[in-house]
Amino acid sequence: MRTDDAPAGAAERASDPDARDAVSSQRDVPDARERLSDHESEGAHAVISVRRLAKVYRMGQTSIPALRGVNVEVARGEFVAIMGPSGSGKSTFMNLLGCLDRPTSGEYWLNGREVSRLSADAIADLRNRHIGFVFQGFNLLARATALANVALPLLYAGMPREERERRARRALRIVGLGNRLEHHPQQLSGGQQQRVAIARALVNSPSLLLADEPTGNLDTRTGMDIMAILQRLNGFGLTIVLVTHEADIAAYAQRQISFRDGLVVSDQAVTQQRSATDELQELLARRSADGAGGEPVRIREEQA
């Protein structure tokens, strides 16, 4: 197998010095598109279709309505930011979208499938195959290497070991961590950990990436870097739903949905979508008197 691969590897290596950026963009663009297109065969449904979704928490005698009839459609390839103050129901909505919780009433169609009445195992499989999570607190397994963390969803998908590692390696390369495979989370910076988490979310080729305050624990520049990765993935066709309370971050999305008191109060397209990549380049250009501006930011800024 190794011998067969050698020419291909050599060819790729030859084109390498030109643009390290190409490691993540050109090399991965076709790749990511192919993967994402797998799901198109499933039909032209919206990825998310939520109708009259309600969730009521019961605490002893009292009932607390967290969601009071929400209707939202998210089409394939959209990048949606969910906004709202705490207690607005956006976290509840996120948990429902992620199939971590069941609605009290209403319908949730994910990829043309009504999921709120599925069995626990079916929902677990659904999370495994169709949803990728990125959390504020990274939520990596501390004992496992980056590679093992990323490969974990594939384990639950029942994939053989070699295939798991192959895909995990590829996902880590997509987020620019191809050289951090054997590092443990505590050996990585916050931004790197979040990128491992993104790789883990990507590895099963999900229909939907749910990001819950993904930049909440990061400094501005690292946050920008994470947003750049998300925007790039969205550019390849990945549907992303991002929960944030920061208007700055929400501005990287194409569409913003605001929640208040368990209801959608506004749902509008972003008129001027910010580009995290461009902003990063500007930021670096401004900061770097030492000529680091040309470096691929995703890899370099962690080491600085």
Binding site: M1, R2, D4, D5, A6, A8, G9, A10, E12, R13, D16, D31, E34, R35, D38, N95, G98, L100, D101, A120, D121, A124, D125, R127, N128, R129, F133, F135, N139, L140, L141, R143, A144, L152, P153, L155, Y156, A157, G158, M159, P160, R161, E163, R166, R167, R169, R170, R173, G178, N179, L181, R200, N204, S205, I299
Partner: protein, 438 residues
Amino acid sequence: MTTSRIPTTRATAAPARRAARGAGAGAFASRRGLMLGPSVQSALEALWANRLRSLLTILGVIVGVAAVIAVVTLTQGTSAVLNARVAGLGTNVLTITPGATTTGGARGGAGTRQSLTQADADALTAVPHVANVSPLLSANTQILAGAQNWNTRAQGVYPGFQAIGNWQMAEGTWFSQADEDNAQPVAVLGQTVVDNLFTPTGTDPLGQSILMNGQTYQVVGVLQSKGATGFGNQDDVAYIPFATARARLTNATFVSQIQVQVDATDNVDATQQAVTALLEQRHQIAAGGSDDFTVRSPTQFVQTAQQSAQTLAILLIGIAAISLIVGGIGIMNIMLVSVTERTREIGIRMAIGARRGDIRNQFLIEALTLSAGGGAAGILIGLGGGLALTHAFQLPFVLSVVAIALAVGVSMLVGIVFGFYPAVRASQLDPIVALRTE
């Protein structure tokens, strides 16, 4: 960032992508049941992360299993010796010892009460099917031969004892009836005695003089070794004529025991009854009264040994059960702690697609790994202890496969039984709550 590293990973990337696409649909369609390999690996990692805690947890299982294995090894060694000795006695020899039978304790009773006489032994020759009879008079004594000395057991027996004890001669002959009649100072030595008295000086023992209790004896024969079968080495003995022993060694009126050889194995039971009846008559014991002697056949020897082994086994099983239950509770306790500590991990796993069953199996396998590890360690320690014990008591080391299999099975069962509740609890966690846990 090293340049050498990247190309290696890249070299496999392109075909990998193609393979991934081909295998994709199929791989996703099927799930593995237990995912045993990765689960065991992850369990080992988790246990290794808390190695001291893991070790302390399985200590109960280790102690329980080790104790059982060690004592089973010891009992097996003992019964191997007993069986060998019974086989050495021949299947048609009745042993009559003074004192009444008490279950399990009869062996220790030999010689503690005095009721058998030489006359009893002589009377038994009249019983049908009796081929040979010999009283035994035992005394521990020191033998001197030149500059060498050795402490051994001297036994005064009739010439017919050679047949009873199934002794083959290595050298010389057994003493004769004439020696018995005239109470000649002659001795037949066991191999161990010869090894200690004559082998060091390279002397041929035959015809040599030895001193026993300050009196001179002539060596007329050397016995073939029956092999050292452990405690009470059968070769560590010096046989002298009964009359000589009575006259020179000890002035006891009573004998240590009487051995009777029956002409055929089929007649053993009948002869045992006849012997008992005759001795009761001679000792004037009324019907229904308790005998002041015990007649045992080889089968009864085995039965006695088996009975005491059984008693020991029951005791052991009790101890092991308690130890394993305690160990199991320890495992359950630590697994509950582990589930609490790793609530967030459980949440993460659930979020990325672990089913409740996957989580349950993960913790179940962890508990199982823990208890099986304890079992394995216990077996090794137990075997080591057993080896040391059997060595100390000069018993053969018998590896009991049944005991080991049982130890493995039981320790794993402990893991499953006591690991089940924590595992189920882990699997019932709410992923949202679990993810929020710090």
